[in-house]
Symmetry: C2
Subunit: 348 residues, 2 copies
């Protein structure tokens, strides 16, 4: 059996070039024999994440670099189609680093069963009920500690993680919440669909002035996904004891050497902190977090949008969409064809 | 009675220019009448601090700007020579914001009694047993949380605050401690007199390479007084869960718009924080801190150097010495003449 894969062919230094750094290979044979404890997984959906840019680089980080020459690392949801594992039977719906490929062979310890409420697509285990929801949750509750009445600013607020962070602070905690995103469509979505207190279109507004206008009493918590100019302007307006949650810095991932936030000096006089975190550290607390997120989802406190790209071969383009900010909500690649998905659904 | 004062005549935007921003005025009359609760203080010593640069600017900060046209704000130690206060008799040795002048009239609530151990100059209430010691103490114990065995880096380690921070982590806590300072004399002082594990002369070494060489196992805590390139290079080498204590950023005080630390992004993958603090917030805990500092001083765990400048009129030059890094240890201006000091000592 052969498959299509997206191979990490070269590590980008600046922007990702399709066909150079990420290469689509067709007719790649899938290994026939499973070892004990391994399963063969038909990949259904792949998550597309800003973190991939880090995994593509050679830099030592919280995970080793995605190996060169192999399918690029990607979180995915799939269905077990053959099994030499006692833990996962054929038909089991699982998630894990399935990689940019149509079939994935993995040892049982590297995957976990997908549990989502009735009537909800298992695809959500890649987004609101997966890393994005968990990242928003632990970034807020373990680092940012927003309190009711605080002014909270979220960047990339129309993105998969930011949109959840903003809805938790607004709808669950009762913070005054301001979202930042690029473009009028996203700004309106933040104001009208997510009901945030205000929204800023950083592409068509002066971010400094817009923050001053929308946060007249300063900023207590900033959930940052972008870095760059926006972070620097927020630092200028932090209140005493402010907390900057460093979740990501997508504005600088493709431009090494881009300037740092000179206003970090304000952290001193405002007695504020800027702190990073990695969601994987909180794995033991995932069950409680997922229960909360599921509850908020069912209560309508969290809404989500998906930007579904069709076909494994379009995964590189899907990733570039993300870096260009062309997505609203979660970018997911649908890998399995309609037939596979029907079989999949009927097995649920 | 007339006196010499140093007046804040204009707010600097970049470097401080003597005669332009700080002006020496002679023959300024001292107010004759005291109000109820006020004391007249003969200023003995004035502390010269990097924070003064911030107080000179118009920016809103943790203290209001030092008022234009008046003696520049400065911490000092002096002797009460007239009193309309029930709390302070003539002869009392007090400290507070006495200002750059020879005589200060202040209400009793703005000063406090100086308490130092026998045989120790009350001048130390401006340094190791005053703001510098307290700043090192609370920056470490409330923000940096160094643990025995941690690798700790201290910048401006030959300065008044840095030298105490480095000695606390080395001698009291048993951390591997590396000090950074400018020039061979300071480097040798850090290694030989303070017995730090290693010392870096940033003026004659590549700071990145030197940190790599002296911190082969990475950096757990960074006590930062300087900002700039040094901060950026430390951020590159932070260990997981690293703590950057933002105490000051003297390298950028005179150069607004200097680049921020682009390696702040490493705070994410290392789950680290960068946090500012202001020593005044911990005033309630000063007695315990001063007791500890006094104890360490008497045990020889903390040594100190003083850089004593003679005469109020030389205060502006003393401040510039600090920004040029020409001092070793605490810069203090001795305001009182020999006669005054003798009277002062005999009254202790």
């Amino acid at each position: 059996m052969n498959q299509v894969i997206v191979r990490l062919a070269q590590r980008p230094l600046g922007e990702i070039v399709i066909g150079e750094h990420l290469v689509v290979d067709r007719d790649v044979p899938v290994r026939e024999q499973l070892e004990d404890g391994e399963v063969l997984i038909r990949v259904m959906w792949l998550s597309v994440d800003p973190a991939m840019r880090g995994w593509m680089s050679s830099a030592k980080s919280y995970l080793p670099p995605s190996p060169l020459g192999e399918p690029m690392r990607a979180n995915g949801v799939g269905r077990v189609t053959r099994s030499k594992s006692d833990k996962f039977d054929v038909g089991a719906v699982v998630s894990g680093f399935l990689g940019m490929q149509e079939y994935s062979i993995l040892p049982e310890k590297k995957i976990r069963k997908v549990v989502v409420p009735d009537g909800v697509s298992p695809r959500l285990a890649l987004g609101v009920l997966g890393n994005n929801g968990l990242t928003a949750y632990f970034g807020l509750f373990e680092v940012g500690h927003p309190k009711p009445g605080d002014t909270v600013v979220v960047s990339a607020a129309a993105g998969a993680t930011g949109s959840i962070a903003a809805q938790i602070t607004k709808g669950v905690l009762g913070c005054r919440t301001i979202g930042i995103a690029g473009g009028e469509e996203k700004r309106l979505w933040l104001s009208n669909s997510l009901n945030l207190d205000d929204a800023i279109d950083y592409k068509n507004d002066d971010i400094g002035k817009a923050l001053k206008r929308t946060c007249p009493d300063g900023i207590d918590v900033y959930f940052d996904n972008v870095g760059g100019v926006t972070l620097n302007e927020v630092l200028k307006r932090l209140n005493r004891g402010g907390r900057v949650v460093l979740c990501g810095a997508i504005s600088s991932y493709n431009t090494p050497g881009s300037p740092g936030p000179s206003n970090y000096v304000n952290l001193i006089s405002t007695r504020s902190k800027m702190q990073g975190f990695i969601v994987l550290d909180y794995a033991k607390q995932y069950p409680k977090a997922l229960a909360d997120l599921t509850c908020w989802l069912q209560e309508g406190k969290i809404k989500y949008e998906e930007d579904i790209v069709d076909g494994i071969a379009n995964t590189p383009e899907a990733l570039l969409r993300l870096f260009k900010g062309q997505n609203l909500g979660k970018v997911v690649v649908q890998v399995a064809g309609d037939g596979d998905l029907q079989a999949f659904r009927s097995s649920l």
